[in-house]
């Protein structure tokens, strides 16, 4: 009974991870400029990938395989923000504009708090 529940949960996680990866790729295609595309890419990195990996961990149980999968997930969690931040910083230093929706963005949110 419990094994069936674990099986069901892992399939749900794998399916959800696949769907979120596809949504992220769709966002990568649809978004209008660079900075907004990065948000779509981070959807792949921080939700799609961990969901898929967690599903596979539940499939394989307590083995070396699941330890490796856990390591991949941790690796992704620690490194993908670094790469994303490096990209954003380099793009801004090169003068790729973020195309803001409003004119004075820095004044919007600090004061009303």
């Amino acid at each position: 009974m419990t094994s069936q529940i674990i099986d069901l949960a892992s399939w749900l996680l794998i399916a959800g991870g696949g769907i979120f990866c596809m949504i992220g790729a769709l966002g990568l295609l649809r978004m209008p400029n660079f900075f907004t595309r990065m948000h779509a890419a981070s959807l792949i990195d921080s939700l799609g990938a961990p969901m898929l990996l967690l599903g596979m961990i539940l499939q394989s149980g307590f083995t070396l395989v699941s330890a490796k999968l856990l390591f991949i997930a941790l690796l992704l969690f620690f490194t993908s923000p670094t790469a994303t931040h490096a990209l954003a910083r380099a793009a801004r230093a090169r003068g790729v504009g973020p195309d803001l929706a409003e004119e004075l963005p820095t004044a919007t949110d600090r004061e009303d708090k």
Partner: protein, 102 residues
Amino acid sequence: MFESAVIALLLALTGALVRALLGPTIFDRTQAVNSSGTLAMLLLAAIGFMNGRPDFLDIAIIYGLLNVIGTIAVLKFFQYGDLGDPGNNADDSDNETAGSAK
């Protein structure tokens, strides 16, 4: 069921590759390459599970390690034109850490 995950990942990978081909700036392409690296890592893991060969996971780990280093190396190359540049000429906030590292 792993087949459907593989198909989903392949579709996502196609999207990332199309963005890498279209991308107007170098950063779009680098971002697309980074995403497709992540997706390829997941694809390797899923293929390994599909065929019952967990050895593929080692390759996935290597992919994950190389993905980040590759992205940062490409960025550094395009920013400074040289991979050996220490890169501490822009910001004064990290001068003291750069000085104490000597």
